[in-house]
């Protein structure tokens, strides 16, 4: 029945023609993919990874560079991106989890690795064009029964394309989470020693969570690059990670829906409330703090617990 929740999203474009609003939706969808996947490792497995924006950015670069250099389609270019992300995640993950790095250390080491990734992309000028970034001009094609091969261009195409990607992500996450894998994630989050004595290979499942999260982030990154049509090293910046974290916190880290709501809030609200730049920054910080201190469950989480209480 949860599937019905998507229906409103599918009918939205029928009522809204404004590109301004639609683009907010599209960005929200794409960033929601990143947020939902980040919540796999953060909210459900309890590890604060700062590598998320790196996975997002690396994939963005690999996909668009492959597409432009070898003149292959978005879909083909996606494979090396995902492949590389998986590889990197496995390497970094096994380093971190092998050494039993605790919460703070894990955060710092992953942060260090993502900064290194950013610096490499920043200074690898002849490939990445350094700080000037690259324009991504070609668009993905999809085959639609009846319509045949269709180029994803313009608002409606992107709207449904990114929506589909988000639905896919949510489906993957919910299937994984309701399986034994999800139970293992929970066990790791709640009590790692106990999980061990119950025969759960915590190393393997942490690694799985880390890799899966980064892979989905990679998808979101590639979409982002092809939608905005521009990539720059800032995609890997710490602020990008912090934005994703804030989305998860605002929406709530205990559910899949939470991060989606968070993504919409953080992407949409700044454009609906007229504020000076400074005031906006202050409000942002204030809201972030307030959520952590007053609604640690996040918005959705709190609503849910109210429903349960009522």
């Amino acid at each position: 029945m949860k599937a019905l929740l998507w229906v409103p999203f599918i009918v939205v474009p029928a009522f809204i023609q404004s590109n301004f609003i639609l683009s907010i939706f599209i960005f929200s969808f794409i960033l929601a993919i990143a947020a939902v996947s980040f919540n796999l490792i953060f909210g459900f497995t309890g590890q604060l990874s700062m590598f998320h924006s790196a996975a997002f950015g690396i994939a963005a670069y690999v996909t668009s560079l492959t597409a432009s250099i070898f003149h292959v389609s978005f879909w083909l270019a996606l494979f090396p991106a995902i492949g590389l992300t998986v590889f990197i995640s496995l390497v970094i993950g096994s380093i971190c989890f092998n050494f039993q790095l605790r919460a703070f250390y894990f955060a710092v080491i992953t942060l260090a690795f993502s900064e290194l990734a950013r610096l490499v992309i920043l200074n690898w000028n002849n490939i990445t064009n350094g700080t000037l970034g690259l324009m991504v001009l070609d668009k993905p094609f999809v085959w639609i029964p009846g319509a045949g091969l269709m180029k994803i261009d313009g608002m409606f195409g992107w709207y449904f394309f990114s929506l589909a990607a988000l639905i896919f992500t949510v489906a993957v996450c919910s299937l994984v989470l309701r399986s034994w894998i999800g139970r293992c994630f929970a066990a790791i989050r709640l009590n790692e020693d106990l999980a061990q004595t119950l025969g759960i290979d915590t190393f393997r499942y942490k690694l799985l969570s880390f890799t899966l999260a980064n892979t989905l982030a990679a998808i979101s990154g590639s979409l982002y690059a092809f939608y905005t049509g521009y990539i720059e090293p800032n995609y890997l910046s710490i602020n990008q990670s912090l934005d994703i974290i804030s989305m998860v916190l605002l929406g709530g880290r205990s559910s899949i829906v939470g991060p989606i709501a968070g993504a919409f809030m953080l992407t949409g609200l700044p454009h609906m409330i007229e504020l000076s730049a400074e005031a906006r920054a202050i409000l942002y910080g204030g809201v972030l703090i307030a959520t952590i201190l007053i609604l640690p469950q996040g918005l959705i989480g709190t609503l849910a617990s109210w429903r349960r209480a009522a």
Binding site: F20, F27, L119, L132, E274, A277
Partner: protein
């Protein structure tokens, strides 16, 4: 709140038709007012807001027999292409803005360019981003007007500056030290070939934005025994670079095409030669030119803070002038929305405001500038260079 209103309006199917209010000219601005690369955008937003306030305080401006006031929609892009592209959509479609100021940041510009192109002929974009240079004058890009002097090219000041430097100092080898960001990279791409072609040897070092201690890089560069240092483009770093160069005895000669005279004056007794490009040397002009004096006074009054004499006024004053230029053009075209005519008028006029500004046929801005040269002890020689 008003914006929530138009969100609702947008949500109700008919959003795409712009809500044009009576006797109001909407001006949009997309600049980074916060974030790492905010320094240009932040000040240009100051300049434009100041100008708009002046126009409206004076009761607006007359075009034909109607009097118009200006509504400024300035949103903060934080230098994030995503934000900018959303904001531009809002301005052009929901708000029906016809004149957009900015962006100064190239990454923002290249992101919005494909979208803006679709509105070619329906609006004007007056931005300072260096990458605009690659598109301006090409088909479908009549909406572009570049509001900043361009280093490269025959009319560019880079050429003139380097010639002057060679003539006056006989430099043989120059060391370049830039932050590793958009601006820095652009300067390298422009000036490295320029020096090469004029037979000057160059050394290059880039540094991470945010660096404050340069002694390592400076020492490294100085080891190559260059005559002149060509440092950064932002006072945020110039103060530190100049001080550390002189204190450490690494460099005593500097060549600047961005940034202000401040760092030089501060270390005047340690410096042999401080060669700086200044679109307008405000400290002097304030005394001689009443317009500049008024501008500085208004700025102080409006923002209730003293006037920043670094590179910032360049942005603010240029945007300030550009608004009055635009109004001028509207009057000449006797229309506030016939974009094509207004553009034609803009390109054909020479505006004599804080600066003497005109555009070439492509829409590239051309303004005269000053070369200020400071010798040891701080005595200055100001030469204004006429680009023509």
């Amino acid at each position: 709140m008003r914006r929530l209103g138009c969100m609702v309006a947008a949500l109700v199917a008919t959003a795409s038709s712009p809500v044009a209010a009576q006797n109001i000219v909407k001006i949009g601005q997309i600049e980074a007012q916060t974030g790492a690369n905010a320094i240009y955008g932040y000040m240009s937003s100051h300049g434009l807001a100041l100008a708009v306030n002046e126009v409206n305080k004076a009761g607006g401006f007359k075009v034909g027999d109607k009097t118009y006031t200006i509504e400024l929609i300035a949103s903060d892009t934080r230098g994030d292409p995503k934000e900018a592209s959303i904001q531009l959509k809002r301005m052009l479609e929901t708000e029906g803005v016809k004149f957009v100021f900015g962006p100064f940041l190239s990454n923002v510009f290249v992101t919005v360019e494909p979208y803006a192109k679709q509105f070619n002929g329906k609006f004007l974009m007056m931005g300072g981003a260096t990458r605009i240079h690659d598109f301006i004058g090409t088909p479908e890009h009549d909406f572009l007007i570049r509001t900043w002097n361009w280093d490269a090219g025959p009319k560019g000041f880079g050429n003139l500056m380097v010639d002057r430097l060679i003539k006056e100092t006989g430099v043989k080898k120059i060391a370049m030290l830039f932050q590793n960001d958009q601006g820095g990279k652009v300067l390298v791409d422009i000036y490295a070939p320029l020096f090469k072609q004029k037979g000057i040897e160059t050394q290059l070092e880039l540094f991470e934005p945010g660096t404050k201690d340069f002694s390592a890089v400076l020492a490294k560069l100085a080891a190559g025994k260059p005559d002149v240092l060509f440092p950064s483009y932002s006072d945020a770093y110039l103060y530190d670079i100049v001080r550390q160069s002189t204190e450490g005895g690494y460099f005593r000669k500097f060549f600047l095409v961005r940034g202000s005279l401040g760092p030089g004056l501060k270390n005047k007794d340690e410096i042999d030669d401080y060669f700086v490009y200044v679109p307008k040397y405000f400290e002097q002009a304030e005394k001689t030119d009443p317009k500049v004096a008024k501008f500085i006074a208004d700025y102080k009054a409006f923002y209730r803070r003293d006037f920043p004499y670094d590179q910032a006024p360049l942005c603010s004053s240029s945007c300030y002038d550009h608004l009055f230029m635009l109004i001028e053009a509207m009057k000449k075209a006797s229309s506030v929305d016939d974009v094509a005519r207004i553009r034609k008028e803009l390109l054909s006029m020479t505006y004599d405001g804080l600066w003497k500004i005109r555009f070439d046929e492509k829409g590239e801005e051309i303004f005269n500038f000053d070369v200020v040269r400071m010798k040891r002890g701080g005595q200055l020689s100001v030469t204004s260079v006429d680009v023509e």
